[in-house]
Each structure stands twice: as structure tokens, then as C-alpha cells.
């Protein structure tokens, strides 16, 4: 809830008449040099943040795969050929479809499964509560290496290697506990009085949850959904290992396939990278205000 409260008290003190003699600075006001230094550092930081992405966009406009070695030449022969080639002659849309199926599947399953649990651990105390929370926490920090080998064996037994369902199930191992944590944090911010009012009016706890709390928790659900989506969308290790057919690759795997041992189509790769980056970052910027609030809700409450 903190990102929206940007009130500073500086406006109050500004009007105070400066005392005679040596001029004193009001609160929140800085000397010119401090201001310049702040802008200087922020501009430098922005350049560092922006440059690798901008460079990728720039390289994607060069028609030849070795253009990255002589970027000066790109200015003269700038073209969108790479983009048309990627869209028409590669599996880009197949990859996009796979990515969307897997990510959306994970998101829907994760949020659906986790929602009631988030509510239960937010409102109810039951024997085993602390252990359960501990399990949720520990499951989120599983390194990929822990589950990869056994999962590979199990999915191979079930003929689920190289299938979307297999990958969705694997992603749910982290998405479900993660969503449960996030949603608990959000449910904690909804006043208990609402539950009590619902209970007084004769709703069952489940009814309270469905009819009163869920509609109020929509922003929290959105944040949980967004996090699961982004995590599944950008996952590399499992997707690289468990998908074999190059039509089923997700974008994260497909992008790697431009660089093989004997050939590196860097120009096409850059174009694909830009095509992926634009919608994802646009989406990210739309929801970014709510992100950290959801993640550290408990923390910023103090």
C-alpha cells in the first residue's frame, strides 16, 4: 500500500519566511550541486538500464548476422527484414502459442488451487499451521536441480515429456505455494470485520470467502496471477530440458535455438527478442504499480 502514499511534508515548511541573515534551506530543498549530482547519477543509471535493451533493438535492424561486429554499418542499411523473416519463416507463432498455453495454464491452475488456502492461512489457526507455512516457504525456494531429475523420470514414465501438461504441472510446484503466500499477504490486509459481518448474517466460512472476500481481493488475485504468468513465461531450465519438439518450444527455448554450434543467426535472434520484449514489458508497465505492494505488503506495513 505504500507506493501510492507519496506525501512529503515539504510543502508545509516551504511557506515559512526565511529568517534574516544567512539564508536557510527549507526541508526537502537541496543545494544546486546536490541536485545536479542526483540528476547525474540517475541519468547514468538510466543509461546503464536502457543501453543493453536499446542495443538489442538497434542490432535487430541490421540485415546481416555479423552486423553486431560493425554496428556503425547498420545506420546505412537499416531494415525491418529480420522482423518479417521471423514472423513468416520461423516457428515464432508456434512458440508464442506454447508459451501462452503453458503460462496461462500455470496461472489459472495456480491461482485457483491457491485461493482457498491463502484465505484459510490468513484467517484460521489450526494445528499444524506453522508447519504448513514453513512447507509453503521452503517449496518456493527449491532450486531447479532438486526436482528436475525425479520429475524427468516420472514424466517420462507417464509419457508427459514434451507435452504442455507436463510443463504446467512442473511449474505448479512453485506457482502454487507462491500464489498461496502472496494471497495470504493480500487477504491479511482485508479487515476481519467483513468476515465477522458475513458470519453474523449467516454465511458459512466458505460462503464468506466466495461472496465477500474474493470480490474484494481482485487486485491481490491479479498480482498473484501476474507473478505466476511472468515466472512461467520466463522459465528456462525446465522448458529447455522437457520440450523436445521445436514446434512445441516456448519462446524462452526457441530464442536459444537461433544459436547452435555451427550457426548463429544473431540478427534474427535480436529481432525475435525484441518481438518478445515489447508486449511483455508493455504489460509489465501497466501493472508495475501493484507489484511490489503485493510482494512486500506485510513488510511495508511496518
Amino acid at each position: 500500500m505504500s507506493t501510492t502514499t507519496v506525501e512529503t511534508s515539504a510543502t508545509v515548511t516551504e511557506d515559512r519566511p526565511a529568517p534574516a541573515g544567512r539564508r536557510r534551506r527549507a526541508r526537502g530543498e537541496r543545494s544546486l550541486s546536490a541536485s545536479l549530482a542526483a540528476h547525474g547519477i540517475l541519468i547514468a543509471g538510466s543509461v546503464v538500464a536502457l543501453f543493453p535493451v536499446a542495443w538489442l533493438v538497434f542490432l535487430s535492424l541490421g540485415p546481416d548476422k555479423d552486423d553486431y561486429l560493425h554496428p556503425g554499418g547498420i545506420w546505412r542499411k537499416m531494415t525491418f527484414d529480420n522482423y518479417t523473416f521471423v514472423l513468416q519463416h520461423t516457428n515464432f507463432f508456434d512458440w508464442l502459442k506454447s508459451s501462452l498455453i503453458v503460462s496461462l495454464g500455470t496461472t489459472v491452475l495456480g491461482v485457483l488451487v491457491a485461493a482457498t488456502t491463502g484465505y484459510a492461512v490468513s484467517r484460521m489457526r489450526f494445528p499444524g499451521y506453522r508447519k504448513f507455512m514453513w512447507v509453503l516457504l521452503v517449496t518456493q525456494m527449491f532450486p531447479v536441480a532438486v526436482l528436475m531429475v525425479p520429475m524427468y523420470q516420472i514424466l517420462a514414465d507417464l509419457q508427459l515429456i514434451d507435452s504442455y501438461l507436463g510443463l504446467i504441472l512442473v511449474y505448479c510446484t512453485t506457482a502454487v505455494p507462491y500464489c498461496a503466500w502472496l494471497l495470504k499477504g493480500y487477504f491479511d490486509t482485508i479487515p476481519f470485520e467483513i468476515d465477522e459481518a458475513g458470519r453474523v448474517d449467516g454465511l458459512t466460512p466458505f460462503g464468506t470467502f466466495v461472496r465477500l472476500i474474493l470480490p474484494l481481493a481482485r487486485p491481490g488475485l491479479a498480482v498473484a496471477a501476474f507473478y505466476s504468468f511472468i515466472t512461467a513465461f520466463g522459465e528456462v531450465a525446465f522448458a529447455t530440458t522437457f520440450l523436445l519438439d521445436d514446434q512445441k518450444y516456448t519462446l524462452a527455448v526457441g530464442l536459444q535455438s537461433f544459436i547452435s554450434e555451427h550457426d548463429a543467426q544473431r540478427n534474427l535472434m535480436a529481432a525475435t527478442a525484441v518481438l518478445i520484449a515489447i508486449p511483455v514489458s508493455a504489460f509489465f508497465y501497466l501493472v508495475q504499480k501493484n507489484l511490489v505492494t503485493g510482494l512486500t505488503a506485510g513488510g511495508t506495513k511496518g
Binding site: A49, W55, Y68, L147, V236, R266, G299
Partner: protein, 334 residues
């Protein structure tokens, strides 16, 4: 039917009635808490099937000599049964104390520790610095903020390739260094520079998260505290030291823990930057992946052993971290 909707979030001690018999307690517990259990059931089932079962299976694999040549597999229409054997704790003994254990495990272990510490320290310091700058009244503050979170907005697997083009031999970074008559290291080939590049790229990727979280923390500090400190004659450093830092403590302890876990488990950056070509720059996670899936024959048992060891390290670390926080009377926010 009573359902415990319980406001107490802290520890609850005392006022326990004398314990009734086991059957009685089970029945009572069931009646009182069945709603809670029903509501956590979906997650419990999912975790049991998708996490617990593979985990146990993985544990079992670490006690065998399974690799891709002796596990059950289907080639064409022929199904070949598994022939791997139970060998007890030999894998652990071999990984931790075997003849070349230093090269295979401990060197990666040390590098992983250095990697995690360096990256999280850089994330935190740079993130805090930028957050402090953005917390002032400043022209163009929103614009700066939006640009600075760009590395977070673009998926890592995309930006790492951007860095790879920049760091490549003959790429833009070395061209610029060359024009400035500075040494042009082989970023993607020389061990030291590989590690340097990995830390650099990961720092670039991780700072925005810290910055935004800490900015949220800064803005939730009550401005009256700063005013009071100023009335008492505290200078800028003292205000930072005695108001800002304590005010950030709760957010900090959370994001640092998250940062440590994420960095320790960071797979994408190193894997995509070097593939399986740089054995000395691999941290434990990517090294375990290399053992299990990046080489032929695939050594499943050793890879699973690394996985279990990694998980053990993380669990021990997190337990100590939480205990340490509890001793200083802080609650973890996550």
C-alpha cells in the same frame, strides 16, 4: 460447528485446558478445524503429489547409481527396464569427499557463496542508493523510475542475449574499451572475466526489484520522525543512520532473504550467458544441471545428489536467518 476465525497472528501460549485423550482430541480437532483443513486441502494435495513424491523419489535416486544408460527407457517400441542399483550413501561421500571433490563440488560451492554475497550486496547497495535519490522531490522522478525498472520489465532470457552480443569478442563493450586504450578482456572465455561478466549481468537484472521495494519502504517511513530528528539537530548522515535504516529494517530483511534465495538459485543468467561451455563459472545449480542433462551419459544420481545438498544448504541458511531475525524481534514479511 465452530470455526476458528482467529485474530491472533503472533505466538499463542498458555491457557491450555488439561489434555484430553488422543481419540477425544482428534475428534475435537476435526470438529473444530475441518473447515480449515478442507480449504488447505487443494494445495496440500498438489504439493504432496507434485513436490513431496518427486522429492522422495529424488532422494531415493541419490542412493543409487542411476544414469541415462541404466534407467528405464523406451527406444522405438522396445522398453528397456531399469538396471541401476542401490549403493547407499556413496554418492554423497563421493561428491563431498571423493578424490576430485574440490574441483567438482567445493570450488563451485565457494564460487556460489561469493556469487551470492557479491550479487546481493551490489543489488542492495545500488538499489538503496537509487531509491534514496528517487525518494526526494526531483524533476522527472517518475521518468527516471520507469526507465530504471526496465531491466525488470524485460524477461531475463531476452536481456541476457543482449548482454551476450555486447560482451562477445568484437562486441560493443570491447570496441569501446579498445578505443579508450583499455584492456579488452575475453568476457565469455576467460574464467575470471566470465565470473565478472556473470555478476555484472545479474546485478543489472536484480537492482530494479530492490530499488522499487526499498522505495516503497522509504515512503512508508513517517516523515514526522525526520522532522523530530532534525529538531534534535541530527545531520543528514545521522538521520539516515538512525531513522532511515531502522525504518527500512523489515523490508530489508525480507528482500535480502528473497535476494539471497533467488541469486543462489539463479539459473537463467549463467546458463544463457555461457551455456555448458564454462565449467569454472558454473554455480552449483547450473553445475548440477550440467551433470544431469548437459553431458552424455547423463548422470542422474549425482545431479540429484547436488540438488538435495543445495536444498539442505538453503533450508539450514533460512532457518538460521529466521532465528536470527526472531532474536532481534523482527517478523519476516513474506
Amino acid at each position: 460447528m465452530t470455526v476458528a476465525i482467529d485474530r491472533a497472528t503472533g505466538k499463542r501460549h498458555g491457557d491450555r485446558a488439561p489434555r484430553p485423550g488422543l481419540g477425544q482430541r482428534l475428534k475435537h480437532g476435526y470438529q473444530k478445524h475441518w473447515y480449515a483443513y478442507a480449504m488447505i486441502a487443494p494445495v496440500a494435495v498438489v504439493l504432496g503429489v507434485l513436490v513431496l513424491y518427486p522429492l522422495v523419489y529424488g532422494l531415493y535416486l541419490t542412493l543409487t547409481d542411476a544414469d541415462s544408460l541404466n534407467t528405464a527407457r523406451t527406444i522405438g517400441v522396445n522398453h528397456i527396464a531399469a538396471t541401476y542399483e542401490f549403493i547407499g550413501l556413496d554418492n554423497y561421500k563421493d561428491v563431498l569427499f571423493g578424490p576430485t571433490a574440490y574441483d567438482r563440488f567445493w570450488s563451485h560451492f565457494l564460487w556460489t557463496i561469493v556469487w551470492t554475497a557479491l550479487c546481493v550486496a551490489l543489488h542492495y547497495c545500488i538499489g538503496l542508493g537509487l531509491a534514496l535519490l528517487l525518494d526526494q522531490r526531483l524533476r522527472g522522478r517518475t521518468a527516471y523510475r520507469l526507465i530504471l525498472i526496465l531491466p525488470w520489465a524485460v524477461p531475463t532470457f531476452v536481456t541476457v542475449f543482449g548482454w551476450r552480443f555486447m560482451l562477445a569478442d568484437g562486441g560493443v563493450i570491447n570496441s569501446v574499451l579498445g578505443t579508450l586504450h583499455l584492456p579488452t578482456p575475453l568476457w565469455l572465455e576467460d574464467t575470471f572475466w566470465q565470473r565478472f561478466a556473470a555478476v555484472m549481468v545479474n546485478t543489472w537484472c536484480g537492482v530494479p526489484f530492490m530499488m522499487v521495494s526499498l522505495l516503497g519502504g522509504l515512503q512508508s517511513i513517517d516523515t514526522a520522525l525526520y522532522e523530530a530528528a532534525e529538531m534534535d539537530g541530527a545531520n543528514a548522515w545521522q538521520r539516515f543512520r538512525y531513522v532511515t535504516l531502522p525504518g527500512l529494517r523489515s523490508v530489508s530483511s525480507t528482500v535480502v532473504l528473497l535476494g539471497i534465495i533467488w541469486t543462489f538459485n539463479q539459473f537463467a543468467v549463467i546458463f544463457l550467458l555461457f551455456g555448458t561451455t564454462a565449467p569454472d563459472a558454473q554455480i552449483l545449480v547450473t553445475w548440477a544441471y550440467y551433470l544431469g542433462f548437459g553431458q552424455q551419459p547423463r548422470d542422474f544420481a549425482q545431479s540429484a545428489t547436488y540438488g538435495i545438498l543445495l536444498l539442505a544448504i538453503l533450508i539450514v541458511f533460512t532457518s538460521f536467518y529466521r532465528r536470527w531475525l526472531n532474536r532481534h524481534e523482527q517478523q519476516l514479511a513474506i
